[in-house]
Symmetry: D4
């Protein structure tokens, strides 16, 4: 299965290949922070045994966090969370109802089995990785430092856009 | 586990005991039509292995139809449908969002794994059983006749309410 | 009227020709499973007598299941269900409100008259046929076996997509 | 069937007796304006033949307008409108989803078959009758004059409430 | 101001020129039925005095029905209804929120001042005219006959589409 | 009409007496800040002439700001804004749809005629007055100082609640 | 930072450069009315210190009103309002959910800290500036006169569109 | 400020004391797992400086995770996340719109600043603590073991409810 260098810490699962564009930002952020990951298509409905197997074995395989992207009746994150005690991050993907169904299916988990849900679509894709990094940084000081650098870059980008705006408006 | 007389044909699962009031109408209709059933609390998230086991074994255990009631991120019906080829009927139960999340989590299944979804709440509870009876009646003429009788009774009830209305309005 | 070979078991009705793209997946699945069907445009509002006639006579004509696709104030499935005791499957079609109106008009049936509702749009089109096959398979072992084959193919497709993903990501 | 004095001009149908509290305002307004009416419970789903019969025969029976109240998958007004060329007024009744499903099921009719939809619940009950009176007043000058009187009374009620407010606030 | 031949009976107002595509179906139906109309852009917010003037004087100018199209915070129909006792038909136009805001702003009128609301967008445009014709037909037998003809044509169009479907599917 | 001492600066209008509980917080805040106001029931639909008259004359009568509370198809704020160039603040009141209709009817104004919309219900009632004070404070230094005092009190209340919490939790 | 001539009175902040197309109408209206402004990208989440700094210092820097545009979890206007007693106007920008999330995040402020919310998207962009002008006009008679001129032009534009409509329809 | 024994690892903030009933389950779970916490009312809008101070200093004070509960325009979690690189968990609290506004304001964060959102209301309160424990358990084996015990207890509770159900139904 696809993974980048190092023993993977993040398990990234997508319910369908239509979720890949949403999750490209997730993979890019994980690479940017040097977090090794394993990525795989895995559907709560089409490959339920594989979903249970991956989630059940994730902790002993050395994973620290699971990221699951799915759309519509998005059961993947919840199903995974029911088979592990690792933190599970859910990314609601766009759908016929603009992702509202995906969001509600992911976030409205019953008491007992939490899913850490992020925003619908590409913003959520990026933020799922950043949330994973925030969690991993709790026991990795270099990641914590990298997060501070990332925050600084966010500010710099706003500053650069302000320079461009000044020129555009001729001020 | 609870069941009524005869080899059970309908497997009725509820994600939580808060779903029981919604499903009392379901059980009453199954009894009225003499459909033997097995009923059990079973959560997609708290007892995922039991859910998989019940669904996987349902057909060989002689069940013909599965009815699943759940609320909020209502994954139960979809999870069951992923482990069986029997028809699975989903009942969305009321929630903090009036059951809209339950409905979308139940009905918006991806292509490949259908859930036959009925109305939110008590109307759905009753109708889940009636839909099961409509399915079972395809190979049971006495059930088909009973359904015709049920339809006639629906009409009679409307007629009786019209008599009461006439009196109430003094006409 | 259009139908494929054999005495039709599934009656497929569409409220409008704009629903045809949604239902092409339904017809394809029925053909794939060899389920003979009759398909026809029939509107609850423009041809109400035809809708009543088709539904009332469906059982005696040998149909086992009715599939109805409609959008917006999607009354077709409910109107058909009021004229038959066969199981009726409703497919909510996209609309000005992304199909939310179609979904609620189809699924929120009152106690007494169930409609088995599937997902909005093309996923629902495919799943309406699969649900029909699940129902027909209760008394047809070859269909039950074909459903098992279909499930296996769903898994194989996921595996194939994982191979493609591995290549794409250069892993 | 219940009706008030005179040859009835308004046909008032309710899908269920739970709709009666919503429609008491409708009946009260019709009486206030002296519009003779016939009122009856009639369900699109439980008594579809009666619904078709009432709507088909309404014009020749002398009715000028039909008012239909229903909730959830509220098909009644649309079904009636498909069987008559009289104006049909739809009142969406409260439901598990606060009447949003009732509203969308009533108002989102396809091109060709209009339903004149009013507000959800009791405001809609009152307004369904007032809309009927506005229609009937087109050929009845005394009704037109009564409507002007009604408008004047609405203003007077606001004035009276302002008097009460002044006292309450001690101004 | 634009109008077609004869003393106008229908007053058609649009809040904005972006509503014209929605209302072309309305004008076409009025022409098809030979209903003379007056059409004008008139905004509840940009030309409130003109809106009040048109509505207040509509009855004495011989109009029998008012049709108002508007989007977003669609106040036009309600504002007109507050200045007349003629029946007012509201057409909710598409908006940033797919017309849901337009629909709620039009239909949720308080008890006392009804607006006859039709579907969002082009279906509503066509149906606003058909509802006007249904109202006018109460005192015009030729319009009533034309409506019967229109209903027959709706059925014929479905039949023609079924012929095309049969060919397309090669059946 | 009700008003408190001094030449009124704020014109507070409510569409219905059911809006009074929502607006009691508004009146209390205006009194707390010593802003003289005039308050009156005035409906966009039941007293449209009065609404136009009040808004048209508000500036010359010395008012600086208008606050309008209404529910459901809440047209009041928009109608007032169309008759004045004063800032108009809209308070969406609770309704059958929890105030979502009120909110959309108030806020979604077309380009050209703004309404300053605040939160649904009692929070909006309080905030409508605070927003009015923020506007009036631009030319009244004592009001500006009072607003700073109000902000300080908000902080003190949080501190007091923290003391109570500490005791409650026994910490 | 970008600003037009004169000591700026309006502080216009945008959460992201994707909000610029929404706010071009705002800037154009401010220019049209000759209101000097300062415009800057500033994010509640990426540059929270800058947001606090700008809002805290706005009053003493001579600003009279703050306009804030943001989308999705649109916190910018509320965050600014918590750091100033100036009136803050919020513009909800389009998002994956059509701006419904942006609207609710902007308008549903708790009692104590108001945000003057305008419509979603471009209409809101224009109206944010017009609302600012209405506020500034309270102490600037030339702005008040300009607003009257603006209202007159709105009416003239409707008249011009009616001329075009007359020609288009050949009437 | 309130806290339980030990150097606190979880910082629990609530926007208002009306959020306390929602968060009692959170505090109970933290106590059950022996996770020391600090709890405090802190509003993004009423005490913005305190919110910034707490979040900015949380990591150096030894906190590992922040939990923030807020309703309506629920900005608290997002504001905190903008001032720290610790993982921030957001709990959307019930509101006038049933918590839908709270949910969207919490979850729809822009790319760059993630909030780990859990379910609306009490289920979310419990799950926020469980998610915090899952995160802390990554570097604390005794917590990981306790989570396994918690999962086992969830299953046992379902089993106990099934015993009760069997008795209740007399089976």
């Amino acid at each position: 299965m696809p993974q980048n260098a190092g023993k993977p810490l993040a398990l990234v699962l997508m319910g369908s290949d239509s979720d890949l564009p949403v999750m490209e930002g997730c993979l890019a952020v994980l690479k940017e922070f040097g977090v090794p990951f394993h990525v795989e298509f895995c559907s709560a409905h089409r490959t339920p045994e594989r979903a249970a197997e991956l989630a059940s074995g994730a902790a002993s395989a050395g994973f620290k966090v699971i990221i699951a992207a799915a759309g519509a009746a998005a059961h993947l994150a919840g199903v995974l969370a029911s088979h592990t005690t690792l933190p599970v991050i859910g990314v609601p993907c766009p759908s016929a109802l603009d992702g509202l169904d995906s969001l509600l299916s992911t976030v409205q988990m019953p008491a007992g089995v939490p899913v850490a849900t992020v925003a619908i679509g590409k913003a959520g894709g990026v933020n799922s990785a950043l949330l994973a990094v925030r969690i991993l940084a709790l026991s990795d000081d270099s990641l914590a430092a990298a997060l501070e650098g990332y925050r600084a870059k966010l500010k710099e980008k706003v500053a650069a856009k302000n320079e461009a705006l000044k020129k555009k408006l001729g001020l």
